[in-house]
């Protein structure tokens, strides 16, 4: 769910946990290198962690509930309905 940390690339700096407006992460610098994505349901997908990660080690995954609804623009035209 929400932020996905590449644990190989993560530097363990904790910037993501510090800047996240929702406290999605929990980072115990003493015991853990990689922050834990503790509260995924509180992620707003603002991208702050992605933008500020110095190692570019975070990607967001949008839950299926958040999917964008879209169509090919050229389908926006009158439909050929059967004649009455």
């Amino acid at each position: 769910m929400p932020p996905v940390i590449n644990t190989e690339a993560c530097l363990g700096c904790g910037i993501c946990a510090d800047v996240c407006p929702l406290q999605v992460f929990r980072h115990n610098k003493v015991t853990d290198k990689v922050p834990e994505v503790k509260r995924p349901y509180e992620c707003w997908h603002c991208n702050a962690c992605v933008l500020d990660c110095p190692a570019h080690a975070i990607e967001l995954r949008l839950p299926l509930t958040h999917m964008l609804l879209y169509v090919d623009a050229d389908t926006l035209k009158p439909r050929d309905l059967p004649a009455r």
Partner: protein
């Protein structure tokens, strides 16, 4: 008992480090005040402007000429019905100074080389939204505040405000930087409340199962509006709830950054303003016909699509750049990953749930409330709208005047109510089982959505609101007994729900009192719009535990 670990003394305490709060802190510090700013998260990335903005309502004399050009255009917008004119004039008069200040500090207000206004505009009419690149605005403002000696306490949500016989006297906050909570007390001569937009009061419209999928940041829960309400501050326009619109299902502001045309599924434009994408104006349809998306859906003629196809490659690139300025990088990343190309694909738009913006603390021309020394700025001002522009400008005005209180003596004593409030929050943490904050928040949203929702297609009435007020009281008593939090974070969230409940109550009593239908406030028992109430604002406040109400004229 949760320990009180830190105490600070300040001339000015600022609650919330969004755009308004940081500008207030900067202005107060410029006048020599000792400023302590408390933020729930980190000022570098908190609030509605966390990752950027791209349009700033302002008056630039060399572009607009007379100020009335901007005033008239602004007062035609949806939320202008809550505006006191003298405040709007002060905002606009001060805006060029703030815009130039931001530009000097490194927020690019002239990304095309000069001041340029676009978006949220009607074809052929003046434009009032300055296109700017706000992607770095929070970092720049944080640096400016620090440079002036502002003490920033991050991860320190405020729980309560206090007042003595004279006026406001300080705030109690929670340290949520670790799992273990502790209290922070800030004794202050003046307080600027700036906690922004209110989300999470109503059931999330696009995704009922995902409470945090809101158009503005879901950490905005109107905390300092509720805290001010608890100490007798006047709130105003609480019944005028707002519903934003944007892409579905990912809820997000920034619709004016999209350059396309809103279309019916058969390709016809939904509104009369543009027939092909237009970088300069955007499509004003959803600003004017605010219920359009819901009307289309409920009538079966929808859904409505935002169609940017037909725009030139250059214009599409411009929109992409603007979305980055606006802070919509998560949306862009997602669209890239999914192969959604605005040049070829039309994205469905819809309305979101009701929120509070321009419903809140009533301020005077200097940003001060009826409680001496308590100021408010930003989206939680009850009697002036204006988004990022008004937040920046009124934040600065409020901080400037709050600093005048630095010459008073500081009340260093522990506020009379502090012990009781610390015990209240400690009890939530010390309880071992009970209701989680999520449970309480969902329960509150159910009551708000069922009994006090706003239009389109949803009605309020005396009987429904009276029932809702009763049920909120029941929920309050249950929450007081049962809310529990297992760590500092959960205690912060529990406090947010307590604040939201207070706002729900203020909203419902106001909505019951406005006995007419007006805009989104649709009454089934008063279906008409009463011209006599057009320029009437409803003020609500608490006095000795009772809710009081009074009508006043809009200041013209």
């Amino acid at each position: 008992m949760i320990p009180l670990k830190k105490q600070y003394e300040a001339d000015v305490a600022v609650i919330g480090g969004g755009i308004a709060g940081l500008m207030a802190a900067i202005a107060a510090a410029d006048k020599g005040a000792r400023v302590v700013l408390l933020d729930k998260a980190n000022t570098k990335r908190s609030g509605a402007g966390a990752t950027g903005n791209d349009h700033f309502l302002c008056w630039i004399p060399e572009k607009h000429g007379d100020i009335s050009v901007v005033y008239n255009e602004f007062m035609d917008s949806q939320n202008a019905t809550s505006n006191d004119t003298p405040l709007v004039m002060r905002f606009l008069e001060t805006s060029p100074k703030i815009v130039n200040m931001w530009n000097d500090w490194g927020i690019n207000m002239k990304p095309t080389g000069d001041f340029h206004f676009e978006g949220h505009a009607y074809p052929g009419r003046p434009r009032i939204f300055l296109k700017y690149d706000g992607h770095n605005q929070k970092k720049v403002l944080t640096e400016q505040a620090k440079k002036r000696g502002v003490q920033i306490l991050n991860h320190a949500p405020v729980l309560e405000m206090f007042r003595n016989e004279e006026g406001v006297s300080g705030v109690l906050a929670l340290d949520v930087s670790g799992d273990e909570p502790s209290f922070i007390m800030v004794h202050a001569k003046a307080v600027v409340a700036a906690t922004g937009y209110v989300s999470r009061l109503f059931t999330t419209d696009p995704t009922p199962s995902q409470m945090f999928n809101t158009n503005m940041c879901p950490s905005g829960t109107g905390d300092s509006i509720a805290q001010a309400w608890r100490i007798g501050t006047y709130l105003v326009n609480m019944e005028k709830t707002y519903r934003h619109a944007g892409p579905r299902f990912l809820a997000r502001c920034g619709k004016a950054t999209w350059i396309g045309v809103y279309r019916y599924p058969d390709g016809r434009p939904v509104g009369p303003f543009i027939t092909k994408p237009d970088v300069e104006t955007g499509d004003m349809t959803s600003d004017v016909w605010s219920s359009a998306f819901t009307d289309l859906k409920l009538s079966g003629r929808g859904p409505a699509y935002m169609d940017c196809s037909g725009a030139s490659r250059e214009d599409l690139e411009h929109m992409r750049w603007a979305m980055k300025c606006e802070g919509l990088t998560a949306l862009l990343d997602y669209m890239d990953k999914e192969g959604i190309d605005p040049g070829r694909h039309a994205v469905e738009f819809g309305q979101y749930e009701a929120n509070l913006v321009t419903n809140g603390i009533e301020i005077d021309i200097n940003g001060e409330s009826n409680v001496r020394g308590l100021f408010a700025a930003g989206d939680m001002m009850g009697n002036i709208s204006g988004d990022i522009g008004a937040a920046a400008v009124y934040g600065w005005i409020a901080g400037h005047h709050a600093a005048d209180y630095q010459h008073l003596a500081l009340d260093e004593g522990m506020p009379a109510q502090a012990g009781e409030r610390m015990a209240f929050y400690s009890a939530i943490y010390e309880r071992k089982t009970g209701a989680s904050w999520q449970e309480a928040n969902f329960a509150l949203q159910q009551i708000m959505t069922e009994y006090a929702d706003c239009g389109p297609h949803r009605v309020r009435s005396d009987t429904m609101l009276s029932a809702g007020i009763k049920y909120l009281g029941d929920l309050r008593r249950k929450m007081e007994k049962e809310l529990y939090a297992s760590d500092a974070h959960e205690l912060m969230r529990a406090a947010e729900v307590i604040n939201l409940l207070d706002l729900g109550q203020a909203l419902m009593v106001s909505a019951r009192e406005r006995k007419e239908s007006r805009g989104r406030h649709i009454r089934s028992d008063y279906t008409f719009t009463n011209p006599l109430l057009r320029d009437k604002f409803l003020r609500v406040w608490q006095e000795n535990g009772e809710v009081k109400m009074a009508w006043r004229d809009r200041l013209i």
